[in-house]
């Protein structure tokens, strides 16, 4: 290769490597801030600040959703299978919100460790299948576990 071109090739590699390193270090340094939410385990460990807006993310515990019959107030537990945090929300929940599904709730943690949520978002997973297949799968699962 022509020496001038070789020099330019080295320059191009240098640009790519150097910018990757710079951005990599910045994102590594800010990794805590890039996370959208705290999992319940980090909140239980006291890593999340109280009295200021945070987000909590995890799975809604099966059978934990308690709806107030007179208002839109709803209470549910969020878990990451290591710790569980309770969230309270007043308002309309997204369609995909249900027990055993992912959820991200934004709000303020009160002194009792309960999240007073102002916004609840459903977090769905990457699995897609037709309803019939889902039914067949859950039936097969029930038969296998004998319930």
């Amino acid at each position: 290769m022509h020496p001038v071109r070789k020099q330019r090739l080295i320059l191009v590699c240098f640009i790519v490597v150097f910018s990757t390193l710079a951005v990599g270090l910045v994102t590594y340094g800010l990794r805590g801030n890039i996370n959208l939410f705290f999992p319940p385990a980090e909140i239980a460990a006291g890593l999340a600040p109280t009295g200021q807006p945070i987000r909590l993310g995890g799975m809604v515990v099966e059978g934990s959703v308690r709806r107030d019959p007179e208002s839109l107030r709803v209470e549910f537990d969020v878990t990451d299978y290591q710790a569980t945090v309770t969230a309270v929300y007043t308002g309309i929940l997204p369609d995909l919100f249900s027990e055993g599904e992912g959820v991200v709730a934004a709000g303020v943690l009160d002194e009792n460790g309960v999240l007073q949520a102002t916004e609840v978002l459903a977090k769905h997973d990457e699995n897609y299948m037709p309803p019939e297949v889902a039914e067949a799968l859950s039936q097969a699962h029930d038969e296998a576990t004998g319930s």
Binding site: S19, L36, E119, V120, H124, Y128, M129, P130, E132, V133
Partner: protein
């Protein structure tokens, strides 16, 4: 090998060959887009959780995948134009930017519209969505930077450097859902294991992804042809086109 490389750098040759490629690829692309869209929208089964709103995936995922791949095309063309001072590579880089920007825009907009019925919000500042927005600004940056320079040689160099620097964003977008807690779910289509999607839904999606790759190629070639004509406005091969 090198004669081929030199031919690739010749505007009249490129113009002629791209015309022949487009004559075949363009009808094929449109057919694939129509078949894929009809298949996905009307014949694929609906999702067990999301119902019919999941059908947005047939536009959102292909646009996103090709917007990312298109950035590599732009950055590699930029690198070639820097190292070998190849004009054709500079034309490719310049012409890839608006196509990539349009696809990134489509990805962001369709994602926002999809977010409302599934997540419950149009927009959230999570790592995947924010890094995708940065990709959009990188594409726009290349377009604007090129326009900003009077001297087109300097413009080409500046854009090539910007697209190379921005390349670091692409793996970040890919891995953002694995590295950080985000609202966006991880990848459905996987190369190392079975995809997390039933085959009756996956087949039209794969067709749409292929169709969008072809769409990118067609749009890039069409843009390059238009650019080659303007750059060669005073040359004999462009003048020759007017006679026919």
């Amino acid at each position: 090998m090198w004669t081929w490389f030199h031919k690739l750098g010749s505007p009249p040759w490129m113009y002629r060959i791209s015309g022949r490629i487009l004559a075949i690829l363009l009808p094929l692309t449109i057919a694939m887009l129509v078949v894929g869209a009809v298949w996905g929208l009307l014949y694929a089964p609906m999702d067990f959780k999301q119902g019919n709103s999941f059908r947005i995936i047939y536009f959102h995922v292909p646009a996103s995948v090709v917007a990312l791949a298109g950035y590599y095309v732009m950055a590699v063309a930029g690198a070639v134009s820097l190292i070998w001072r190849m004009k054709m590579a500079e034309v490719a880089m310049k012409c890839a930017a608006p196509v990539g920007a349009a696809l990134t825009f489509l990805s962001l907009l369709s994602g926002a519209i999809w977010g409302k019925p599934t997540w419950g919000t149009y927009w959230v500042w999570d790592a995947r969505i924010t890094s995708m927005l940065i990709l959009f600004f990188l594409y726009l940056g290349v377009i604007v930077l090129y326009q900003a320079y009077e001297n087109k040689e300097a413009a080409g160099k500046a854009c090539a450097v910007l697209s190379l620097v921005g390349m670091v964003n692409i793996p970040i977008i890919y891995k953002s859902v694995d590295w950080w807690y985000s609202l966006h779910q991880p990848a459905t289509i996987r190369f190392t294991e079975e995809s997390a999607m039933h085959s009756s839904m996956l087949q039209p999606l794969l067709l749409m992804i292929l169709a969008f790759y072809c769409l990118f190629t067609c749009a890039l070639l069409l843009n390059m042809r238009s650019e080659l004509l303007r750059r060669g406005a005073s040359t004999s091969w462009v003048r020759g086109l007017a006679v026919n």
